[in-house]
């Protein structure tokens, strides 16, 4: 990928599950009650069978081929040429809910007051002002970062970790570092 494509880098090795990123998003945009653009998902026992817990902080993945943009009948979505951010223009939205039904990552949410969709904007206004997205800036342990996939080349990251659905056609712009496997001490080790 040579074109600039901003992405969230979710470092599960560092994430504490403190929800600061989700709260920072809420503080920035004051979404209606029940509407969340970013959320922190604990990994279930089937994936991470340990007393310690691990988390993914997830929002819109600003996919290379966003299904929300494809299915929207009124062209309320567009993808910025400059950085690949997928923007939803709520004034164009007619509230059909097609994007909400279609996004496999559940990024677009229904605003119950306006009866229109809305989703993570990657804080593009902040980006344009030279600032980091609110969620990234707020993370106390740098577990959430912004990377450019055109240049991001770390060997220890994956695009589809366990617990994150794989949709290759969409090519979600998000990368993960897996959590540490917890140490298990056996009687013989002591």
């Amino acid at each position: 990928m040579s074109k600039k494509q901003l992405a969230f880098f979710v470092d599960s090795k560092r994430c504490l599950g403190c929800f600061t990123c989700a709260m920072a998003c809420k503080n920035q945009y004051h979404q209606e009650k029940g509407v969340v653009w970013r959320n922190v998902y604990p990994l279930k026992d089937s994936i991470y069978p340990a007393r310690e817990r691990a988390f993914y902080s997830l929002a819109c993945n600003h996919c290379e081929r966003p299904v929300c943009l494809e299915v929207c009948p009124v062209k309320a979505y567009y993808k910025r040429e400059s950085d690949g951010v997928v923007v939803h223009e709520q004034d164009k939205c007619i509230g059909c809910g097609n994007c909400i039904r279609s996004c496999p990552y559940g990024a677009p949410r229904l605003n119950p007051e306006l009866h229109k969709a809305e989703k993570c904007s990657f804080c593009w206004q902040r980006l344009d002002a030279g600032l980091l997205p609110a969620c990234v800036q707020s993370c106390p342990v740098d577990a959430l970062q912004v990377v450019d996939l055109a240049t991001f080349d770390r060997p220890d990251v994956v695009q589809y970790p366990p617990g994150f659905p794989e949709f290759e056609r969409l090519n979600p712009s998000v990368r993960f570092r897996l959590p540490d496997q917890p140490l298990q001490f056996r009687r013989n080790d002591i």
Partner: protein, 267 residues
């Protein structure tokens, strides 16, 4: 249960009922040598009314229904835009067929065009409601479900208009549709149980839903029993099938599990 689903339930079922009625009428146009004599203007107008009713219901699921016409803007990639356009074309064809039947100038060509437009709407609807976010439905099943709804309601409603000598053809169409519908509705959720986590949860949710079993009974089992016992289509049967299809569509929209419901778990 999301209240936004109810207008979609009514929209899809009523519009498919209208298309099904038009399809069965068009089939009779070709299957019987009598031709125009078997064409009831009332049947075409009923099809038009059902489709129009469905279109009106579709407006109620929009947050901004006054700008519904904008839904035609994204024909390049949006199946919902194509659904709106194809439904409009089908409505125009059915209206033309209705007025031609009324004036006694109904033609085979118009009937064929209407049937093609109707099948096109069912296909486009099938594509619209099979997004990647619902693994159980991200395939041809929505199209098949919608065809079954169209033909089951359409053929049974057609019996209200058809002449006595043409009734056996309508009964055969209805019987075959009901058998296919029953088999698919029983097999699909069982197949889903052997799929991935989200697909299996969909199968479990459908099979555990009393609404699902009520819809199977009302739309397929009871009508098949009545057809077998009476060898005719009673006047109340189309309404029972319609009620069953409405319940089934409610299950379709409310019990199908979304991939985002299992983030952080195994897929």
């Amino acid at each position: 249960m999301n209240m936004n689903d109810f207008p979609l339930v009514l929209f899809t079922v009523f519009s498919q009922a209208g298309i099904g009625l038009a399809l069965v009428s068009a089939v009779r146009r070709f299957a019987t040598p009598a031709g125009p004599a078997d064409q009831s203007p009332g049947e075409w107008f009923a099809a038009l009314a059902l489709l129009a009713l469905g279109m009106v219901f579709s407006l109620f699921h929009l947050g901004d229904p006054l700008r519904a016409a904008n839904a035609l803007k994204h024909l390049a990639t949006s199946w919902l835009s194509r659904e709106a356009l194809s439904a409009g074309i089908a409505m125009a064809c059915i209206a033309a067929s209705a007025f031609m039947a009324k004036s006694g100038s109904g033609s085979r060509l118009m009937a064929a065009l209407t049937a093609i437009a109707g099948v096109l709407v069912l296909f486009v609807m099938g594509m619209t409601y099979s997004p990647p976010s619902f693994p159980a439905l991200n395939n041809a099943l929505p199209f098949v479900f919608f065809c079954v709804t169209a033909l089951a309601v359409g053929a049974s409603a057609s019996s209200l208009f058809v002449s006595a000598e043409r009734a056996p053809l309508v009964r055969r169409i209805l019987a075959v549709t009901l058998i296919v519908g029953l088999v698919i509705h029983l097999v699909a959720p069982c197949v889903w149980l052997s799929g991935g986590t989200v697909m299996a949860r969909t199968g479990q949710a459908w099979l555990a839903s009393p609404l699902f079993w009520a819809s199977v009974a009302l739309a397929y089992v009871i009508p098949l029993g009545v057809l077998w016992a009476k060898r005719s289509i009673p006047v109340w049967l189309p309404f029972a099938i319609l009620a069953g299809e409405l319940l089934g569509r409610l299950v379709f929209f409310t019990q199908t599990v979304h991939t985002a419901s299992n983030l952080g778990g195994i897929y």
